[in-house]
Amino acid sequence: MVWFAIVLAGGMTSFYLGSYSVGYAMTQLAWQNHRGDDFGNVKAAIWLFTRNDLTAYHQFSVGQLRDGVIHLAVEDGDWRCSDNQRRTLSRARIWWKDHPDPTPTYAPLERIVEKSWSACDKP
């Protein structure tokens, strides 16, 4: 009976420790990423204000657009888009087709980008 109680307590404690330690580590990583994004946004905003030039703003927006679209391409799992997200992706696709990137650096990325256009295909 004593051993049974010890095994039960050990199992419950280790379950708690397992979830707590993973939760702690994940939270730290998530916050670190979040801070990185915040500092990135501060730096980008000041750079844009210093340049004060529409071309610079456009370069930044194109970078953001690419980043967002490519991110969706690497998403995994079973998820559904809202109607608003579907409309956004469709607009992005039209813009992307109308404004092909002339720089050869992004050519290999086109295959990845193609994947993101089907991100909202699930009904």
Binding site: M1, W3, F4, I6, V7, G10, G11, M12, T13, S14, F15, Y16, L17, G18, S19, Y20, S21, V22, G23, M26, A30, W31, H34, R35, D37, D38, F39, N41, V42, K43, A44, A45, I46, L48, F49, T50, N52, D53, L54, Y57, H58, F60, S61, V62, Q64, L65, G68, V69, H71, L72, E75, G77, W79, N84, Q85, T88, L89, R91, A92, W95
Partner: protein
Amino acid sequence: MNIRNLTSALTQAFGRPWMIHLSWFVLLVVTCVAGVQLGSRTLNWGVSPLVWQGERGAQFAKISTSLAELERNDIAFSEGLAVARLRTALIGLAAEDDGWRCASYQSKAMADAKSWFDAHPEHRATRELQPFIADGLRTCETRM
């Protein structure tokens, strides 16, 4: 089969009491390892979809605002969005806990932001938000 029956069955099977204690100890170790695994997997299973959902929302927001900027083709609109992003980032930093240090490029970014706000007071946020912006700008002063 209750615990007493299980113990007597084990005594009969192994013959010696120390073997029974050893079996229980092995069971304890296995239970602990399984408990840690199950706990971490349960948390992962529950939390990961939430984190990904938040991340997806942020990516769609990024796509949407970038498209709006590119389609409007208006520097005032772009500047307005950049100011909004700057304020959001500073308020986010103001809400951070302690326990981390600023890298030198981060301190420099904050110093640049402070100089820019000093030179452009018209872009300071509303009176209610100003204390949060000021806190955000001080992020790296105590975390060097």
